[in-house]
């Protein structure tokens, strides 16, 4: 069966510090991978999606970046965090044409 992991689960970082959130998927090959941010428990904002290694599409211009160094690994990064980067970050994967997405447990990021 497929599983998706995210870490860390929670993170408190000062403004201006770097960020690295990791997401890995097990049990599937060549998944589509996604990073979302959710503020205040409301709708999800798509940040990045990837259809393959090294292929990243950015949906929202900001100080975040994403990389996919391996087929089932997706990393969200920032060189300098802003207060507005606080939120709940969710990684998701999908395969095939039905695009049903499976979400990870999320990372709660608080920038202080």
């Amino acid at each position: 069966s497929q599983t998706i992991h995210q870490w860390p689960a929670t993170l408190v970082q000062p403004v201006g510090s770097p960020l690295s959130l990791e997401c890995t998927v097990e049990g599937t090959s060549n998944p589509n991978l996604y990073w979302y941010r959710q503020a205040a428990g409301r709708g999800l904002q798509l940040l990045f999606y990837s259809v393959g290694i090294g292929q990243i599409s950015s949906e929202v211009p900001q100080n975040l970046s994403a990389s996919r160094p391996q087929d089932r690994q997706f990393i969200l990064s920032s060189k300098k965090l802003l207060l507005s980067d606080s939120g709940f970050y969710l990684c998701a994967w999908s395969v095939g044409h039905d695009y049903e997405q499976y979400f990870g447990p999320g990372t709660r990021l608080t920038v202080t």
Binding site: Y34, G43, L46, A92, D98, G106
Partner: protein, 108 residues
């Protein structure tokens, strides 16, 4: 960009009541998905509707896709506290776009 509008944004009801939440767009979708999210967790897919006019039932939940495939509704019968959560609609495709969600609270 296809936009999805959900209503109401917040809904607080008593156990046993019925409710309906809506997902609307000005665009036509080939299919539409409903997810439920509990606090501190990722959304979980409830259903995908693909045919205009389609009705799908999942226990006490009834999902309907509009004939024109521009809107969808979720009806819950005899709501229970376990139904509490954020209900999101999304249009599947290369990148899943979500509505802002309906936050449902069912009080015992």
């Amino acid at each position: 960009t296809q936009l999805l509008e959900q209503s109401p944004q917040f809904l607080s009801i008593q156990e046993g009541e019925n409710l309906t939440v809506y997902c609307n767009s000005s665009s036509v979708f080939s299919s539409l998905q409903w997810y439920r999210q509990e606090p501190g967790e990722g959304p979980v897919l409830l259903v995908t509707v693909v045919t205009g006019g389609e009705v799908k039932k999942l226990k006490r939940l009834t999902f309907q896709f509009g004939d024109a495939r521009k809107d969808s509704s979720l009806h819950i019968t005899a709501a229970q506290p376990g139904d509490t959560g954020l209900y999101l609609c999304g249009n599947p495709g290369g990148k899943l776009i979500f509505g802002q969600g309906t936050e449902l609270s069912v009080k015992p």
